[in-house]
Amino acid sequence: MYRYDEYDQAIVDARVAEFRDQVARRLNNEISEEAFKPLRLMNGLYLQLHAYMLRVAIPYGTLDSRQLRMLAHIARRYDRGYGHFTTRQNIQYNWIKLEETPDLLADLASVEMHAFQTSGNCIRNISSDQFAAAAADEIADPRPYAELLRQWSTLHPEFSFLPRKFKIAVTGSATDRAAIQLHDIGLQLVHGPGGEIGLKVLVGGGMGRTPMLAHVIREFLPVADYLGYMEAILRVYNRHGRRDNIYKARIKILVNDLGPAEFAAQVEAEWAQLKPLGLDPPPSELARIAAHFAPPVLAADAPVDIDLSNPEFANWVAVNTHPHKVPGHAIVTISLKAPGEIPGDASADQMDLIADLAQAHAGDEIRVTHAQNLVLPHVRRDALFTIWQALHAAGLATANLDRASDIISCPGLDYCTLANARSIPIAQKLAVRLARQEADLGELKIKISGCINGCGHHHAGHVGILGVDRKGEENYQLLLGGSGAEDASLARILGPGFDEDGIVAAVDKVIGRYMTLRAGPDERFLDTYRRVGAEPFKEAVYG
């Protein structure tokens, strides 16, 4: 785990003090709401439908038990006893009071956390692979690279007022668990011709109103140069990105307008100008950061075989754990998607329990996934039963990872001022309806957004649902064929939309048709869709 140095802590403490003063002045009417609003947004504080919402950054989705306990404390002390883990590995609190926010932020700062750059047209939280440092298939831990990006992008004076918000994801594996093709910049650690580690650079991906997959603009970038190269990308975007139209301001529009080759050429030219300035830190700095991420020492002789005679436990192990790179260990995904519950929500008590389990059994680490689940990355297999029992007692042992009831859902119109329709009730109904058959369905990723901004990643869903407004009433479009993984694709709208009951029935029909079309039990819905196209599903839904 990275620990703040005196510079990191000083920056965060100063920001808390500054915001405390700004809040006091606003409450005393010394500054107007018009002047104050951008200041509170810079500190992650939105005004939503029912109250203020605070979005707290969780860099690359990594927490230790001390930090998760603080998130639980904040849920109890300042909210209504729960938090919502988001699709960018952050956490949101829905019932925050402005007058209490400075104290909340001071509590957060005491565990090296903050909420700034979780809003606004700046570089947002750097996201990463939730299996980092544990996955057997990774080249190297991506988080040191993400941490250096975090430090570089924090309060970067040149990039605090970009044309639009900017999201970066970093992964160390060819198996993409970080959706790098759907970010403004996606970075993938790769080997060079000599076996050295470098980065493949993708630019211009994104969801929202104009979904696009990213383009590779460099197949191999030496590690020593990557920060300067990021600076060059951001400079080209900052210079040429559109500021006249909010809907055309993301970097994907610029890359698309210029063409990836021309965009890459401009980045290379900018980089050539920057390189002599020596912006990149010395290798020792990256090494210093990387030392913080040394994985826990795991016993190589831990037993691989464990007692799986309890069928419910055995099923959970089969569905919700992954092989660890060290034999005798596992990566545990804790589902926050019990059918009928709110996707991504966790109570303070649940957070405390998971913190306890992480401290006792998982190298004191917890990860947040972009699919709104939590992960214990370093677990001995012979501790799995103890962990499962504790999770089971807390309603956290749902065995549904990447299955039909493991639904991504934004808060939607139940909380969000931008939303046109509710997302969560659709997720709840579908999860309850599909849970019984999901073992037979295999991998099926359903993703629901309550508006075109796409926080629920509907364009990356095998089955995507988009809530829209139709004369003040909720309506839902059905999309099929998306993926946010290494086989990324954008889902396409199947046909006219539905009301709340209609969309649930329509998904049922799509799944029913899939069951008759699939080549075998191992062919995923997505593969069947890609093989047969949309027409059979259109016929099933619309007749």
């Binding site: 709401e33 109250a51 329709a421 709840q428 003040g472």
Partner: protein
């Protein structure tokens, strides 16, 4: 069509409704402001104590009002998925 004046309290973000002589958390305490709504917004805006002042369309309903849009019904009651937090403005299942 009746119109109500609503906004969010600065200090807490709470949804509040104009009652004719003050503000209430409860939709059914609200009074219709109709053509006087813009004047009230002009009166309250400079005071800078209530955010996102807005006039919304409602229909009369047993015991009070029913906002015309789903968005405003959710604002009035609370998240439909957390009935434990619901205000008694409308039945949650009537959102």
């Amino acid at each position: 069509m009746p119109r109500l004046l609503t906004g969010n309290r600065l200090e807490t973000g709470d949804v509040i409704w104009w009652t004719g002589d003050g503000w209430s958390l409860h939709l059914n305490d609200a009074v219709a402001v109709d053509d006087g709504g813009e004047a009230l917004i002009a009166q309250f805006s400079p005071q800078e104590r209530i955010n996102d002042l807005a006039l919304i369309d409602v229909d009369p309903a047993p015991g009070g009002w029913r906002p015309r849009t789903t968005r405003e019904r959710v604002r009035a009651v609370g998240p439909s998925v957390r009935p434990d937090f619901a205000l008694p403005s409308l039945p949650v299942d009537a959102i």
